[in-house]
Subunit: 396 residues, 2 copies
């Protein structure tokens, strides 16, 4: 595994290619106090903290310039990827001079209406830039979302390897949980087993620890981004877990489902098996159309139509999102064309994108079934990064 | 220590008072995918994750309404502080209806040019709001920075108690480090001792672990927000550490300095002691004017003038920043009126603000001396939350 600084270098090289491809002269990521409000690109293209206002510039001519506070400069210099300009009283003189020297036709700025991963510029900082470049470059600002989408979305082989490792660790943790399961365990107890595993392995959490894993036992749970509670596993009911880890800065995101057979049952009951099969059929319908060039919403629509045609409620969420440094990694989503997704479902799938595929449904009186696998888009289809859970797991 | 949800309730009650005091009808904190780009107020007024667009509204009439995605709703409901409206396809209808029902004269929105802690609204989300309220309320948006400054800055007794506990833990860790010190320890080794202590105690890091602590051994180190390296402690030189922990969501931030006497030395040499005394005299000059009603820059100026008058270089940073949920907690800073601080040095100090007081200087051939203590502003002055390091620590 190459060190973090090598990954930063690789992604910066890739960024220059993307700028040329998109015919953009300059990409400016403008940030401040990145432990309070960070731009998600900072991890990708720098991996350092910036306390004062910081400007990370990448030009189509290949220049990489970081203008950062004096105290932030040493760690940016250590990356070895930037010409670093340290400032004391104000970032503006060096920032103006640098932009004027590069004389870009347009400046792509780190904001986006639809894509949270490309929307790190705060409105206050946007106003600072408007003021700094009033009468000069302020009318040349455009959103950098297409650059960020491409850069984040087109995973390098090293990035895919990291996601694969995170996925493997997650599967090993699921494998360690299964033998510990029995009826009458609480959601909190199950989460505790998984937290102990994650900490023993020195891994990070793919999202906030309080609901990583999300554990849903039985039919009473309102499934969502909420913490495990005091509900307990019971015979004749389902257990659903949504879980991911972070390893070497990259995440996994998987859901797994167990059924607790009742006395005399040798398999899950008909209602559970029917829902399981319908969900897999819908995911497979999505997989059948998932390839480079297709719009995100088209993949979702194929899966959605399949599930609804089988008589199940329409899921009120997307079939899949991208996965990378974050569990929700932005860019194109495999989602319906609903207002809350903005332009993201209209984005086009590209080779080397990594997506989750996840649909679920509540089985009345049993609990929740949610499938979620992680896949890599190849030149003509997909490769599973996870080992798909094709069969419901029975807790004997 | 009351639970997190009680603290959220307390701060929301306080927010209503502040809205009335500032004659603002409605405060809207608008966020999205808060594990990618979070508003620092979310921890204070909700403490939950919001995957989809989320609107947290507080009105001067005392209403607290959260409009969040269906999957985010259960955890917001658990706080017990909000009327929760869950949505599926779009946040806009419920958001428009709610604002129209409240019919505010102005809507304070979560952005600020000067204050990172009050600047969580991304520019993309600002554009979404402009579009959502075009022709209705878009011309009534004002920045909520004054509300956030007051709410974050005026610590409740519970918040002060948390900071006090974090400070105490930090001092205990420093006390555990001192006996382990000797010449020829690397910065990385010293950080390792402190990381082990922080983990043994189950504490969090006040800032990014890679430079928490920042460890600076001897005169060759370029002091900044950079990781410990392979420089080593040496006799006749200084060791400087900048360190903070997070406990129960609140931070400490302290600097401590050790001197390694050379053969035959019974005390630090004259150049070191003179710098130490000059730094303390300057901090005390700041303390002498630090009380409610004074502008941040006035406190810095008193300290700054003292240090420069003693013949030392002017520090290229602020005397102090606020401390709370974050090590750099935003709002008024005790800083010079430099462009990079924007309006923050012009802010007025209030009772129950918690500040760091930190000045430093490099002693040629010896290393870096940096003082940093944490203080609470009282009705007529300050109370030390840390035990001030009035004497340089000698490593025998």
């Amino acid at each position: 595994m190459p060190p973090r600084s090598t990954l930063v270098q690789q992604k910066l090289d890739q960024a220059v290619e993307i700028l040329r491809e998109q015919d953009v002269d300059l990409w400016l990521t403008f940030v401040r106090e990145t432990s309070l409000t960070s731009d998600p690109s900072v991890g990708l293209i720098a991996g350092v903290y910036s306390a004062w206002q910081g400007a990370f510039l990448v030009s189509a001519t290949g220049e990489r310039i970081a203008i950062v506070g004096r105290f932030d400069a040493p760690s940016v210099e250590q990356i070895g990827a930037y010409e670093v300009i340290g400032y004391d009283e104000s970032i503006r003189p060096a920032l103006r001079d640098t932009v004027e020297r590069l004389a870009p036709r347009t400046i792509a700025l780190n904001y986006s209406e639809s894509d949270p991963a490309a929307d790190g510029l705060t409105h206050g900082l946007w106003r600072v830039l408007q003021d700094t470049f009033a009468d000069t470059y302020a009318d040349r600002f455009v959103p950098s979302e297409a650059i960020v989408n491409a850069l984040r979305g087109r995973k390098s082989p090293d990035e895919v390897e990291r996601i694969r490792s995170a996925t493997r660790e997650t599967e090993e943790i699921f494998d360690a949980v299964t033998p510990a399961l029995r009826p009458d365990l609480s959601e909190v107890e199950i989460a505790g087993i998984m937290h102990a595993e994650i900490e023993r392995r020195g891994l990070g959490y793919a999202w906030e620890r309080d609901h990583c894993p999300a554990v849903n036992a039985g039919p009473e749970k309102e499934v969502g981004h909420s913490p495990p509670g005091e509900l307990r596993t019971r015979s004749g009911e389902l257990l659903h877990v949504d879980f991911g880890v972070s390893r070497d800065d990259y995440c996994s995101d998987l859901q797994r489902v167990w059924y607790f057979p009742d006395h005399g049952e040798t398999d899950a009951p008909e209602d559970v098996r029917r829902a399981w099969d319908a969900l897999w059929a819908s995911v497979d319908a999505g997989v059948a159309v998932l390839r480079p060039g297709v719009a995100g919403w088209e993949v979702d629509a194929a899966a959605r139509e399949s599930l609804v045609a089988a008589g199940y409620p329409e899921p009120m969420y997307a079939l899949g999102h991208q996965l990378g440094r974050s569990a929700h990694d932005g860019g194109t989503v495999l989602a319906p064309r609903w207002d809350r997704y903005g332009a993201a479902p209209y984005g086009v799938v590209e080779a080397r994108n990594v997506f989750t595929l996840e649909y679920g449904t509540a089985v009345p009186g049993r609990g929740y079934i949610g499938l979620e696998e992680d896949v890599l888009v190849t030149d003509d289809g997909i490769e599973w990064l996870s080992t798909p859970q094709r069969e419901l797991w029975l807790v004997r």
